[in-house]
């Protein structure tokens, strides 16, 4: 078992694109860690740099305390599951799973035994003689995981592990992966662009953008207190309300309302961030006209047209949807109002 330590890692492609930019990161031993960000933010490059498929242009990568920056991928004791699983189409499931042992020239009986044992652990026992093309997406993913496990590596890397599954299977696989990771206790880093996936599975999340980490923290931290407006925008299945506002005499003036900033704050222009989930009807607060009601299942997302051309979203429980056109006054729950510097976008 081993943790991962990245110190000042930059990965620059030959065409000059700086995909990972002077990044420091420590992943603890046995941690389930998510790299989250929009496409092109460098998260996959970072994962490939840890795996050794890309060379860090500067900085150092350590795994289990040993510097592996200049080592070939095969000797880093890092297993990886690719986004397309990369199962070898000409090999059976059993041969695929035992491939890491074949590379090490392990005897055939040992290979078959390891394949059978690993496959049984992942519910693939009856499929050993099939070819990858004869498997469903979920089965292919488990074969890819089994192959990674057969390597008995210290670190497991998963590139977009759920993106090739259909929506229903994705939920099952999420639970499955989390249980597997906990049972194996393997240091695991996975890349995703889906914030819900990261929040659900990871112990800690790094939100990335333009090759840098914007925020590093537990799912709860990242959800409740996004460090800047980028993270605030990115995290949450319903977009966070980011409203232009002004702090004056210790009160926040936003959309014609005066709210409590929840603490002392100097007078300045700010951006107010409130999650739709943390807004509720109140006698005093932001007043607006209901323009759209979207059904999200257990809750509904209500869009309010407020003064100063501001729209505010909030979620309401089922059966409590206000009629379109009615006027509603809403306020954030205490302590759930976030203030961002309107120039830098940083949490203040």
């Amino acid at each position: 078992m081993a943790g991962i330590e990245l110190a000042g890692v930059s990965t620059v492609y030959p065409n000059g694109v700086r995909a990972v930019d002077a990044l420091d990161l420590t992943v603890a031993d046995g941690e389930f860690f998510a790299l989250l960000g929009p496409s092109g933010c460098g998260k996959t490059t970072l994962l490939r740099t840890i795996a050794g498929l890309e060379q860090a242009s500067s900085g150092s990568v350590s795994i289990g305390g040993a510097d592996v920056t200049r080592l070939e991928p095969g000797v880093r004791k890092v297993a990886m599951v690719f986004q397309d699983y990369a199962l070898f189409p000409h090999m059976t499931v059993s041969e695929n799973i035992a491939y890491p042992l074949r590379v090490r020239r392990a005897p055939k009986p040992e290979r078959a035994e390891t394949a059978a044992r690993t496959a049984a652990g992942l519910g693939l026992a009856g499929l050993l003689e099939r070819r990858p093309a004869q498997l469903s997406g979920g089965q292919q993913q488990r074969v890819a995981l089994a192959r990674a496990m057969a390597m008995s590596a210290e670190v497991l890397l998963l590139d977009e592990p759920l993106s090739n599954l259909d929506a229903r299977l994705r939920l099952e696989a999420r639970t499955f992966l989390k249980r597997l990771q906990r049972d194996l206790g393997l240091t695991t880093v996975f890349v995703t662009h889906d914030q819900a996936e990261a929040l659900a599975m990871a112990d800690r999340i790094a939100v990335m953008s333009e090759g840098r980490i914007r925020q590093l923290g537990s799912p709860r931290d990242v959800f409740q207190r996004p460090a800047d407006t980028f993270v605030a925008n990115f995290i949450g299945s319903t977009p966070m309300n980011l409203l232009p506002a002004q702090v004056r005499n210790g009160r926040v003036e936003v959309a014609g309302a005066h709210l409590d900033p929840g603490g002392p704050h100097p007078d300045a222009p700010v951006t107010v961030g409130i999650r739709p989930e943390y807004l509720h009807e109140a006698p005093e607060g932001i007043t607006g006209t209901v323009s759209i009601v979207e059904n999200l299942g257990v809750t509904s997302l209500v869009t309010l047209e407020c003064p100063q051309d501001v729209t505010v979203g909030l979620t309401v429980p089922e059966h409590e949807e206000p009629p379109v056109g009615s006027v509603l006054t809403v306020a954030p729950r205490p302590g759930r109002l976030l203030l961002y510097d309107s120039d830098t976008g940083q949490l203040t």
Partner: protein
Amino acid sequence: MTPRQVARRLAYTAFMAVVLAFFAVPMLWLASAPFDSDPGLGLRWPDWTLTNWQVTFEHPYALSSLVNSVVLCVVATAVTTVFATLAAYTLSRVRIPGRDALLYVLLLLSSVVTGTAAMVPIFVMMFQLGLTNSQYATGLVIAGGLLPAAIFILKDFVDSVPRSYEESARVFGASPTQVLLHVVLPVARPGIATILVWAFVQAWGNFLLPFLLMRDVSSQPAAVLLRTLRDEGGSANLTVIPVFSLLYAIPVVALYLFVSKRYGFRFHGGIKA
């Protein structure tokens, strides 16, 4: 069906029958003439005999020319397939400046500067090297002509093989040789099989280069010998030619059937067979 439709159907069928007959006649001649006691250039029900076969087998050069052909084609095919595979893999995976330009120039030169155009320099070169009358040398020259197109076709094929296969193998610790042997070659097998058969057929049917480089009748391959099969009077030797033609056709058909069964030709790129 209206009479009009019937007429159209009949006309279509008649047309197809004529087209079919046009292509079938030479095949039928190839099947019947070798067994006819008096083979001609026309098609007729044979007067069965095996004399033609006996005469052909007794011909001083007929069988040895087929052996020469096999040697020449095995050399040309092996060289083309091995080098085209390695070159295509490298060109597909390694980023070098001007790679695409290089490929197009190769293809362009090989189709513009054909063997016919380069006939004299090739002969002079091989003559000065003392490599005329050698099946191996001629096979090499043929392979040289086939390589650009083979590399071009195979490179396209290897491009369509996802890189993640190789990266996955590398993560599991495979050396470059292991990646090539365990992953790349098996995955690219249908493409390689296609190139193999294509190269063999091209070399088997090549007349000009062996004709040019093999002045000695005993070393000439079948494609060249076929032209010299005449009797004393100078007219085509119709006892030997039909049998020889049939023997000449067999290896290509056999190779095609074997490779198709063993490796399977598949359509790639968009079409899934």
